[in-house]
Every structure is written in structure tokens, then in C-alpha cells.
């Protein structure tokens, strides 16, 4: 980051869509190699736009963007979802889940990641949500290390089998 340049983190708005979409594509390109080629993501822009508009207005979600000189340099998306379903009940009924975190390479290592997490955790506390989770590819060691540093703990593994 250039000295004296102000970076801000704010909630995403409709106007952010084009830049958000481009960054989301970059993010997908970065994570695609972590998964089987059949899972390569091609975003349908029209559908994605519709969903984006719904998501930025949802009270149970938080979409943040980090900007420098009006340019989006990082994105974050977290939600709240109901965990009590199909007869399986917990003492709490809602938890948080992080869907998306991406910071452009140039701005990594600037505490941006911690700032995103802090804002999300504040959002959860204000809504009295006690726990949150996220999934990360086992190959993405750097991300796993960063989450552990932020106090998250590995509790489950998602395993996959390919049928021949």
C-alpha cells in the first residue's frame, strides 16, 4: 500500500457490482486449481448480479469491500444461517458462515484480512450469534494458517470421492 493512501472498508452497494464481479472472477481463478477440473467455476454474470442485489440487502448477511482510491482491492462475504433442520435441534438456532474472502495480491499482509474478520465478528455479536464457520481447501495452506492465527480451529474435514 502506498504511504498516505487511505484504505477504507465499507458495506458493498449496488454501484460496486462491476468491480466486485471482476474481483470474484480473480478469486475463482485463484481457487480453481485447488479443486477437480469439473468444478471449475464460470460465473453467469446475469444470475450473479441478481443474487448480488439480493445479498447486499439481506439482514442476515454482510458483504464488505475494501477500497483504495475508489478501487476495490478486497472483498468479504459472511452470512447467518439456521442450523436447526430436519428434526436436528441445537441449543442455539443460528450460526455464521464465511462464504468469500479475497484480497488482491498487492494488498496481502496489510492486516486487511484481520479487519474483515473483526467487522464480521462485530456483526455477529450484535446479532447475538455465538459461532461461525468456514470451509477452506486443504491445499490452501496459507489461508488455513491465517485462520488459525485468528483463533479458528479445524473441527471437520469434507471428503470427496470420484465415482468411475
Amino acid at each position: 500500500m502506498e504511504k498516505g493512501t487511505k484504505m477504507i472498508i465499507c458495506k458493498a452497494t449496488e454501484k460496486d457490482f462491476e468491480q466486485y464481479y471482476l474481483l470474484q472472477q480473480k478469486y475463482n481463478q485463484e481457487i480453481d486449481p485447488y479443486y477437480h477440473k469439473d468444478f471449475t467455476i464460470k460465473i453467469n454474470k446475469k444470475e450473479y448480479h441478481k443474487e448480488f442485489l439480493k445479498r447486499i440487502n439481506k439482514k442476515s448477511g454482510l458483504i464488505l469491500v475494501a477500497k483504495e482510491k475508489n478501487k476495490i482491492i478486497g472483498l468479504f462475504e459472511g452470512t447467518i444461517f439456521m442450523i436447526n433442520k430436519e428434526g436436528l435441534e441445537h441449543k442455539i438456532d443460528k450460526v455464521g458462515y464465511i462464504n468469500n474472502v479475497f484480497i488482491t495480491q498487492k494488498y496481502r499482509g496489510n492486516q486487511l484480512f484481520s479487519k474483515f474478520l473483526n467487522q464480521y465478528e462485530c456483526f455477529l455479536r450484535n446479532k447475538k450469534i455465538k459461532h461461525y464457520s468456514l470451509n477452506v481447501s486443504k491445499i490452501n495452506k496459507r489461508a488455513i494458517k491465517a485462520y488459525i492465527k485468528e483463533g479458528l480451529k479445524i473441527q471437520e474435514y469434507r471428503m470427496q470421492k470420484v465415482l468411475k
Binding site: D38, N44, H131, L134, Q160, K161, V162, L163
Partner: protein, 159 residues
């Protein structure tokens, strides 16, 4: 011993195994608030809907007119806003074998039967979740051809 699809009559015995599965899962769950309590009425409703559904299945293993194991799985749609080559994927929701009947390859047999169902529905990939605190299950699934794809991490932010 017979592996077959569950029918309405199986519910009571299935429920005992299903409850035993969650007692086991709860013993691994660190956060008390995330431990699961079963609502039998709702589970019966779900059971009756699964056995009639094309996108989900409950397989049971019967020995001497008694259920000794079950497997519950489904086929789910992927996110529509992402044009994925794969539009549907299988999920192995839960599987449980009564303690007295372990070590008889029942897990393998149930999984093979579930895979037949997935292949019939043209499903190429399927997922399951295993607790980090259950290395024995992790090893068994690796042995059955599963690979770890993702880690799931949790954090508590409020006491």
C-alpha cells in the same frame, strides 16, 4: 443379511440407530451449544419424505429381522449462479453400524449400494464430513477411496 431401501415400517428401528449416530457425533462436539438433540416427530416426517423421494435415500441393513445399520444420503443441486460443469452432487449425510455388528465390512457394503444409486442417477462426485477428532473414521473413508478436499474451521465469538 440384507441391504435394502428403507420402508415406512422401518422407522422405529431406524430412529434408534439414527439417535445412536448423533450420540456418537455429540461425544466429538467440543461446543456444547452445537450438540444435537433429536426431534422424533420431525425426523419421522423427514424419514417418510425421504423414502418417497428420488433425490434422497435411506439404506438399511437387516439381519434376523432386525436393523443393524443404516446409510442416509442425497443428491443436491449446485449453485445456479455459477455455471458449473457438474450441476448435481451426492452427499453421504450419515452412516451408522450397531456396535455389535462392526468389523463385518458393513460400511463398505452400504457405501457400494449407495454408489450404485448415485451412478444410476449419473452422479460422479459425492461428499461426506468427518470430525477432526475421529481419526479412525477418517482412515476408513480414505481406505474406501475418499480424499480430504476441505477443512472446516469454527470460532466462538460470544460466551
Amino acid at each position: 443379511m440384507l441391504i435394502r431401501k428403507a420402508t415406512e415400517k422401518d422407522f422405529e428401528e431406524y430412529y434408534k440407530l439414527y439417535k445412536a449416530f448423533f450420540d456418537f457425533v455429540n461425544s466429538y462436539t467440543i461446543n456444547k451449544e452445537l450438540r444435537i438433540k433429536l426431534n422424533k416427530t420431525k425426523i419421522k416426517k423427514e424419514f417418510n419424505s425421504i423414502i418417497k423421494s428420488k433425490n434422497s435415500i435411506i439404506l438399511v441393513c437387516e439381519k434376523n429381522n432386525q436393523l443393524i445399520a443404516y446409510l442416509k444420503g442425497n443428491i443436491s443441486e449446485r449453485n445456479r449462479s455459477l455455471d458449473l460443469e457438474i450441476s448435481k452432487i451426492g452427499d453421504l449425510d450419515s452412516v451408522f453400524i450397531d456396535k455389535k455388528h462392526r468389523g463385518q465390512s458393513l460400511l463398505r457394503k452400504l457405501i457400494l449400494e449407495f454408489e450404485k444409486y448415485l451412478k444410476k442417477n449419473k452422479i460422479k462426485y459425492y461428499n461426506l464430513s468427518v470430525s477432526e477428532r475421529n481419526p479412525s473414521a477418517l482412515d476408513k473413508y480414505k481406505h474406501l477411496g475418499f480424499k480430504i478436499e476441505e477443512h472446516q474451521l469454527w470460532k466462538k465469538v460470544l460466551k
